[in-house]
Amino acid sequence: MYDLRCESVIKRFGNFTAVNGVSFGVPAGSFFSILGPSGCGKTTLMRMIAGFEHPDAGDILLKENSVLNLAPNKRNVKMVFQHLALFPMMNVGENIAYGLRCRGDAKAGIGEKVRAVLDRVGLPGVEDKQISQLSGGQKQRIAIARCMVLEPDVLLLDEPLGALDLKLREHMKIELKQLQHQFETTFLYITHDQSEALVMSDNVAVMNAGRFEQIGPPRELYDNPVSGFVAGFVGDTNRWEGRIDRLVDGTARVALNGGGSVLAKTGANSLREASAVEVFVRPEAVAIGRGNDGATLSGRVDSLLFNGANSRILVRTETGKLVEVADTSGATGFNEGDPIDIHWHADRALCFARDAA
């Protein structure tokens, strides 16, 4: 059963189509992310689900009931805003009780519910604090508590980590995931940060220019992207442009622009010989040393980028291309300028038709 379903939703602003025929379903109790660059229409989509915008076509269903004709204050989806939108004129307790009061809950029960939800987000006893007295992470949790106390069908989160500094953001990713488990509520999370989407989600939809390019579990998006956009947007990758020389059983030999050629698996699309393509290879798919004939590139170490487990070696190939190579140990003993050979299995390189743009 789906908690939230969108069917061919379309939204236009004048001549600009912000959301162009989007359909998806969010299974009950799951963490679903919409990942896309800014301006791709993800915020518009979320605002339609919350009821602040009205779609031009399509349907939005909550628990399989259409909510198109429900005003925003009648929909049982709650939203954590980008800058949280905690009410500065109220203290923490009043912020959380706001929705309960609007709903007309009995006064007696409200205090108890506020206390309980504060316990669950790990901030017991802060009812009387002012919003300005809270830290960034605490505000985050209060914003979630304010929604969760109303037991929504779906919780919408609009890039809520964007305003936090890096360290706190990393921490909050894990905490959000735990909160979602704890409340067992369906989360719909919007972000432009692929690592947030990959870490937390059960399913991720990659959105581009008003459309969903691909929906799937994070691993599937990462390993089997269906388009060049997804391959380039999700995770780190090397990307080169070229043209297919020869095509045998779904494996293409691609002549790269600027010289050299590589083997790559074609995506599930209709590529032909002489098609213009982009080749994507993840840094961790590139191994150091000589491999099978045809897939080895020689070059020199251009620079070493140390970042702990995410360290990289930048290799400048003989044809002048820069290749990012994962260096998990960070201790391969190379120095800048050293000659180096790299190779990868043809299966680990993917090629997609180059976008017209």
């Binding site: 919350a50 009821g51 602040f52 005003a71 925003p72 204050n73 009648k74 989806v77 709650k78 939203m79 805003f81 980008q82 800058h83 939108a85 905690l86 009410f87 004129m89 706001y98 929705g99 609007c102 709903r103 304010r146 929604c147 109303l150």
Partner: protein
């Protein structure tokens, strides 16, 4: 840093100039204030000793302001007019602020200029134009229907309308400035949490505007209280304090009771202005 660019001599000249300027600013207020406490029948030197008679004495010739029937009536009228006109102009100003900050409509820029225009119409002109227009309507109704609408003749209702006509510009600008700083996400968040429009307005938006509403009210009240030019043209038998004072000044000449009223006005408006500054500072 800039100081380093100047010679000490120029610095001293500049500082002296500033001191002289503030002396110039304060001198007449001081002069008006000090003689309220001089035990003399005229507000002039020599100093005859300190007294509070000009405030509290209840017999002629030194009738204090708090026992002067006409001044007290003027004060009462001023308060009455001030409260009504401030309330009205704050209400209208709030509507205007929402209109120009939140809504889009044709000719918005032109209408915005229209909203500002009353500030650049001389007060005397506002006064006579409203006097003339009200009289034209009143005459028309009188001749056509035989009903005499006294409130369209000079008097407190016309004073209220006259002051309202330019105070609304001021209150609109003050309130709009605050409303522009409002984060729309707060309203959406409240809607999302289940509040209806009215509830959003009363629990989120208006509380946010309260400091601006308050200071708009105070500004409107003070400007109304001290207004002379517009009021002069519209005044009937119930004169507000400034008109009463002016009459006294022209007919009786200056007497220390006017100094006493001046002190009272300075203290009152000073306190109100201070209050509005404090409220603004607290809440922002």
């Amino acid at each position: 840093m800039k100081r380093a660019n100047r010679s000490p001599f120029l610095n001293a000249v500049y500082a002296t100039y500033i001191v002289i300027f503030f002396l110039y600013l304060i001198a007449p207020l001081l002069a008006a204030g000090v003689f309220a406490f001089n035990d003399s029948l005229f507000p002039s030197l020599p100093w005859q000793g300190f007294t509070l008679d000009w405030f509290f004495n209840d017999t002629e010739p030194k009738l204090g302001m708090f026992h002067d029937e006409r001044l007290l009536r003027g004060l009462g009228n001023s308060l009455y007019i001030g409260v009504i006109v401030s309330a009205l102009s704050v209400a209208a100003g709030t509507c205007n602020a929402f209109l120009f900050v939140r809504r889009d409509f044709p000719f918005k820029n032109a209408l915005y200029v229209l909203m500002v225009v009353p500030l650049v119409i001389p007060g005397v002109i506002l006064g006579i134009s409203i006097l003339v227009f009200a009289s034209m309507i009143a005459n028309g109704i009188d001749q056509g229907l035989g009903i005499n609408l006294t409130w369209l003749r000079p008097g407190i209702p016309l004073i209220v309308l006259g002051q309202f006509s330019f105070l609304t510009t001021i209150t609109s600008l003050v309130i709009a400035a605050r409303l522009e700083k409002f984060d729309m996400a707060l309203e959406e968040a409240a809607l999302n949490l289940g509040a209806n429009r009215l509830r959003v307005l009363t629990t989120i938006t208006l509380p946010f505007l309260v400091p601006a509403l308050f200071s708009a009210f105070v500004v409107a009240f003070l400007v109304s209280f001290e207004n002379f030019n517009t009021t002069l043209m519209l005044v009937g038998s119930d004169a507000p304090l400034t008109i009463t004072m002016y009459d006294r000044m022209v007919k009786v000449g200056s007497t220390p009771v006017l100094n006493a009223v001046s002190v009272f006005l300075m203290l009152g408006s000073g306190l109100l202005a201070l209050l509005s500054v404090i409220v603004q500072r607290d809440r922002t």
